[in-house]
Subunit: 101 residues, 2 copies
DNA sequence: GGATATAATATCGCAAAACGATATCGGGCA
DNA sequence: TGCCCGATATCGTTTTGCGATATTATATCC
C-alpha cells in the first residue's frame, strides 16, 4: 500500500465514516479499504479497531451470521463528533494543498 | 492538538507542500503548523523531518541567517510525486466521507 | 578574546503504535 | 465428535511519537 506513514489517518477516518453509516465488521472493512487502495493486514486492522473502541470512538457487539461469529462495530457520539472534526481538517487541507490558491 | 492519531499524516502532507513551495526550516514549520491547529513539540517535529529526509522526500542544507544556523529543507522529486499522490488520496477521501453522495 | 545570550536543532528514554505472521475461536455439518 | 472455514486475536519485533532536556552555533558585549 501507498506509504502508510502518510495515510493511516485516512484509513481511520474511513472506518469512522462507515461505522456511522451502518454496523461493520473486520473482514468487511478490510475489503472496503482495499477498494480504496489501502491493503491492511489483520495485524494492523484489528489492533486499530480495538484502540478505537478503547478510546470511545466505536462500540462492538458479537453477532452470528450464516454460522460465523462476527464482531460488528458502530460509531459512538464521540466517533460522530470526531468525523465532523475530521471533515473540517480535511477541507482545511484541501484549501491549503490542493486548491492552489 | 486535535487527536494526533488521526491527523499526523495531514501534518506530513503540509510539510511536503511547504517544502515544495520554498525552502523551510524547523521552527518556521512549527509556527506554520500551529496556524493550522497542529501544535507539535520539537521532539515530534525534528525526528519527523529526519525521517522524511532519510526516506528521500526532503533534502536539507545548513545556512546561517541573521547569526543563526538554520537547516533548510526542500522537497525532492520523490517528495513532489508523494504530494501529487497525496492530493489524489485527499480528494478520494473528500468524495467518500465529505461530499455525502 | 572569553563569557554570555539566544535561536535553532538534536537527542534521550519511555510509552505506544504498526506490522506480518501465526494462532485461536466458534458455529455448522458430516 | 471431529473437521472445515470465516473471522478475530495475539505475538514479537521494529518503528514512531512525545515531552523534556541537552547541545550547537553564531553574534555581541565587556
Amino acid at each position: 500500500m501507498i506509504d502508510r506513514e502518510f495515510f493511516l489517518g485516512f484509513v481511520k477516518i474511513h472506518i469512522l465514516y462507515h461505522a456511522i453509516k451502518e454496523p461493520i465488521y473486520g473482514v468487511e472493512i478490510m475489503r472496503e479499504l482495499a477498494r480504496h487502495g489501502y491493503d491492511l493486514s489483520p495485524g494492523t486492522l484489528y489492533p486499530t479497531l480495538h484502540r478505537m473502541e478503547r478510546d470511545g470512538y466505536l462500540v462492538s457487539r458479537r453477532e452470528v451470521v450464516e454460522g460465523k461469529a462476527r464482531k460488528y462495530y458502530r460509531a459512538t457520539d464521540v466517533g460522530v463528533r470526531m468525523l465532523e472534526q475530521s471533515k473540517k481538517q480535511i477541507m482545511e487541507l484541501v484549501r491549503e494543498v490542493v486548491d492552489e490558491k
